[in-house]
């Protein structure tokens, strides 16, 4: 019976490459990992967006019309919906001039979780407390 904490650090933008996109879908899969684990064992990812990584979850994305794919915004909303902890680096928000209302929430889907805007120091702390750190 153990929980393993993982820090998923998304540091690259979405769409051009696939890896940063896969960070979100891999985090989402924490919901079903129990089928492969012993009773009571869990894996808990914290999803953190730093640097260019945070550009990829802005509100208002539409990747379906031009490219026929789900947007990363929708993946981010799904992460909130399944109660993942999602963090965005405060300093990078300021650096890129991104305001809180440009970040998505999933109120419309009934999610209670919100994206947490935190200083980089807190993201470092999440990495410290995690058993494993995965950069995307």
């Amino acid at each position: 019976m153990a929980d393993v904490k993982c820090a998923f650090i998304v540091q690259r933008p979405q769409y051009k490459g696939e890896t940063s996109r896969l960070a979100l879908t891999h985090a989402l899969s924490y919901q079903t990992v129990e089928v492969l684990l012993e009773d009571g064992d869990t894996v808990t990812p914290s999803l953190c967006f730093v640097g260019e990584g945070l550009l990829g979850i802005s509100k208002g994305q539409n990747a379906m019309a031009p490219y026929g794919i789900n947007s990363s915004e929708m993946h981010a909303k799904n992460c909130l919906l399944v109660d993942l902890d999602v963090y965005v680096c405060k300093e990078d928000m300021e650096r890129f001039g991104i305001t809180e209302n440009q970040l998505p929430d999933a109120d419309d889907m009934g999610a209670e979780k919100k994206i947490n805007i935190v200083p980089f120091a807190q993201i470092e702390k999440i990495m410290e407390e995690a058993k494993h750190v995965l950069f995307f």
């Binding site: 891999h26 492969l36 494993h132």
Partner: protein
């Protein structure tokens, strides 16, 4: 002895990241460690059987088969793989096909996780 799980996302044949992952897996297995490899994204194409080894492209299939003979577990992301047109019947034997939670489940019991993302 420890457990090392690697997630390999970029690359396949011709990619330094892919070569690195396979070589490191081999070295760890030779030392008696338990090694798991998860392929996702473009790296999933590396499960395709019948790769022709040319001197301008790095080792793929042959090395992967050797790793599995050494006990390394290798699994590919089924969705990523079929979206690229590769069916289970065309896969190198003994490679597992599963969903992303396979990777997380291996992470659960690992001493070290090396997620090779990039691109």
């Amino acid at each position: 002895m420890g457990v090392l799980t690697m997630g390999v996302f970029p690359g396949l044949v011709g990619s330094g990241c892919y070569d690195f992952a396979l070589k490191l897996a081999g070295a760890a297995a030779d030392k008696g460690h338990v090694v798991n490899i998860w392929f996702s994204g473009n790296a999933t194409v590396s499960v395709k059987a019948h790769q022709k080894h040319l001197k301008d492209y790095s080792t793929g299939e042959k090395y992967l088969v050797e790793l599995m003979e050494k006990g390394v577990e290798v699994c590919t992301c089924e969705a990523c793989t079929v979206s690229r047109g590769i069916q289970k019947t065309e896969s190198i034997a003994k490679i597992q096909w599963n969903a992303m939670h396979w990777y997380l489940s291996k992470i659960h019991c690992s001493d070290r996780v090396l997620q090779i993302g990039g691109e």
